[in-house]
């Protein structure tokens, strides 16, 4: 469908009779994959399909942000170990080197019968296969007293970028001896060790400039990832600074008051100099709009990440109900490659290999004190199941912890090159 410029600029009636214009010109008969979400899942999938299909497949990536700030390593910005620009990435290489059509817009709807994605800007894009990697959205009302209008006062900083900078500035501006309160999320949520790495990074920053400040975590969960390692590290590096209130002591019963900057934990009201609210999470909204979610997440087939609701739609990363895999950037990147292989196999005669998945999460507890946890996963009939795992040990020496931190730096360069080219 060609755009007629006169009609487009001119009369409203004429415009009303047109169907929505195609953003992409005719694809010359090539099969087309549309990817919604340019994060660890979507960007990786777009790049691998474009790279490995030798020009046989049209790839459109729909991503609202022009600069992507990785959530992973954003805690290190808060801790002062990186600056915000070091976690910023452009989509330019995907566009010019890989021929990915990067469309900076929001997907606002999916018509599964017509197989097209509606854009906020008004166009629509047809797909042969659709890959959704929309990350997470917050569940309304999950933290009483908090909603999106409060996020500049009590940031979530659980979608990186301006929120990261905001939270860091608030930590640095805390008065002497003030209290930093974190309201931690219930399972499942993106990045299981993330909130606790963040506490470590805030503690590190406070130890430098505000050593009498305190940190309180209100946590609805009894246990969390790398708990033994974090608790030992906090005792070693930040003794007396951090208190965690778990569900046995009312940590799940929290109300916040952004106007007063107070946090009520099971009846005890705390004045917060800074407050990080991490609400309960669900799949990014486009997954729900596409009709592929069941409850909060999108069930997928373990062998190829295709949606159980629609064989032409795939869901990657945080938004998927991904069995035993934790919601991490590493997982999303791992799943994206399995998905990209399956999609190419479905659209061309590319060979499809058995799915293998993996994840490793690195966390920084203090300078040169890094820990990691990871596992290997394989599909079973029912889900993606963990088959083996590893975790840093409590009695490791300083050299090992420093090496683990350096490993994470190498991983960061690797995964961002894998995502963005």
């Amino acid at each position: 469908m060609t755009l007629n410029r006169r009609v487009f600029i001119g009369s409203a009636t004429a415009a009303a009779t047109l169907t929505a214009p195609m953003v992409q010109a005719a694809s010359h008969g090539k099969p087309r994959v549309v990817v919604v979400g340019g994060g660890a899942g979507g960007a990786t999938a777009a790049r691998y399909i474009a790279k490995d299909s030798d020009g046989e497949i049209d790839v459109i990536l729909i991503e609202p942000t022009k600069t992507y700030y990785t959530c992973f390593f954003s805690n290190l910005v808060i801790g002062g170990f990186r600056d915000i620009e070091s976690i910023a990435h452009s989509y330019g290489t995907l566009a010019r080197e890989y021929g990915v059509n990067v469309v900076h817009d929001w997907a606002v709807g999916v018509d599964r019968d017509a197989k097209s994605v509606a854009l906020a800007g008004g166009g629509s894009v047809a797909y042969d296969k659709l890959i959704l990697g929309p990350g997470i959205d917050f569940i309304d009302g999950s933290v009483p007293g908090w909603d999106v209008t409060a996020q500049n006062v009590m940031p979530h900083a659980y979608k990186a970028g301006s929120q990261t900078e905001l939270l860091k500035a608030q930590v640095m501006a805390m008065p002497e001896g003030g209290t930093f309160v974190m309201v931690a999320p219930p399972n499942p949520f993106r990045c299981p060790p993330g909130p606790y790495e963040r506490v470590s990074m805030v503690a590190h920053a406070l130890k430098q400039g505000n050593p009498t400040a305190k940190i309180i975590i209100a946590d609805p969960k009894e246990n969390f990832s790398k708990q033994g390692l974090f608790e030992e590290g906090w005792e070693q590096h930040y003794p007396g600074m951090i208190t965690r209130i778990g569900p046995d002591f009312g940590g799940e019963n929290v109300t916040v008051n952004p106007d007063e900057m107070t946090v009520d934990i099971d009846g005890e009201v705390i004045k917060a100099a800074a407050c990080n609210v991490i609400p309960a999470q669900k799949a990014g909204r486009i997954a729900e709009l596409a009709g592929v979610t069941e409850g909060n997440w999108a069930p997928v087939n373990p062998t190829d990440m295709s949606s159980k609701a629609d064989p032409d739609i795939y869901v990657l990363g945080d938004a998927a109900a991904q069995g035993d895999m934790p919601k991490s950037g590493f997982s999303a990147n791992s799943q994206a490659k399995v998905c990209a292989n399956a999609v190419r196999g479905a659209l061309t005669d590319a060979r499809v290999f058995p799915a293998k998945y993996a994840n490793t999460c690195w966390s920084l507890i203090a300078a040169e004190d890094g820990v990691k946890v990871g596992a290997a996963y394989e599909p079973t009939e029912e889900k993606i199941a963990s088959v083996d795992s590893f975790i840093s040990q409590n009695d490791e020496d300083a050299a090992t912890r420093a090496a683990t931190y350096r490993e994470s730096l190498g991983w960061y360069d690797g995964i961002t090159a894998d995502m963005f080219g």
Binding site: P188, T303, D324, P326, K327, F353, A375, E378, T380, A385
Partner: protein
């Protein structure tokens, strides 16, 4: 999913599941009905408490004898001090007959002789331990397929004629008619399983010194060719 198993040569052959797919620990739904054997003494689920036996929440990955306030037998405490932890493998032995693992245990249970029963019961108990999606370091929920070969290697299409030429080295020991008189039969294996086995020798996962030497000298293409040849001998 096809499974190939050469029972005649259990010592050296490997049971390999063809195609993708780990194995679940068992059938948790069936395991729930088997739990009736345990309910008299053990509780699971929300609010579970130590009774005659300790509760079984968060069992997987836990050190034995670790419930504070529960009075374990001395034998169990000794085993715990010796490093006993509960994972799928130790639980399998314990459930088959508790005294096989901890000879002085107070757990009076004759045991579950059927492996399938134990697998299903363990799958049920696994539900009450941490989910790896929330805590990645939690115990696995499945057993993996047993190779880590790059799919690109498995994808190599072997040339059976080249394989026939190479096979003269093999047929000195491995009978071309597929018979087994003490040396494993290597005919009619699915090609993928053949390649996996040869790479297991090449990478020293399998320990036979002669096969390690032979496989070590073969390239990926040569292994693929041999797999193609031996896999097609009947046709």
């Amino acid at each position: 999913m096809k499974t190939t198993c050469r029972t005649a040569v259990i010592a050296l052959a490997l049971c390999v599941a063809q195609g993708a797919g780990a194995q679940d620990l068992g059938d948790a739904a069936r395991g729930e009905t088997l739990f009736r054997h345990c309910k008299a003494c053990h509780q699971v689920g929300q609010g579970a408490k130590d009774r005659v036996g300790p509760h079984l929440n968060d069992l997987f990955g836990r050190r034995a004898g670790s419930h504070e306030g529960y009075r374990y037998s001395k034998a169990m405490m000794r085993a715990a001090a010796g490093g006993l932890e509960w994972h799928a493998d130790t639980l399998h032995i314990y459930l088959e007959n508790p005294k096989n693992l901890v000879s002085g245990t107070r757990m009076s249970f004759a045991g579950l002789p059927e492996a399938r029963d134990r697998a299903d019961l363990l799958a049920y108990l696994r539900v009450f331990s941490a989910d790896p999606s929330d805590i990645p370091e939690a115990d696995p929920t499945a057993t993996g397929t047993d190779h880590t070969i790059d799919p690109d290697i498995l994808a190599i299409v072997g040339d059976p004629e080249y394989g026939e030429y190479l096979s003269s080295e093999c047929t000195t020991c491995h009978r071309a008619d597929g018979g087994d008189s003490g040396i494993p039969s290597i005919t009619l294996w699915p090609e993928e399983d053949f390649v996996i086995a040869m790479h297991a020798y090449k990478n020293a996962y399998r320990t036979h010194p002669v096969m390690q030497m032979i496989a070590g000298r073969l390239s990926d293409e040569e292994i693929a060719a041999l797999a193609a040849y031996f896999g097609s001998l009947d046709q």
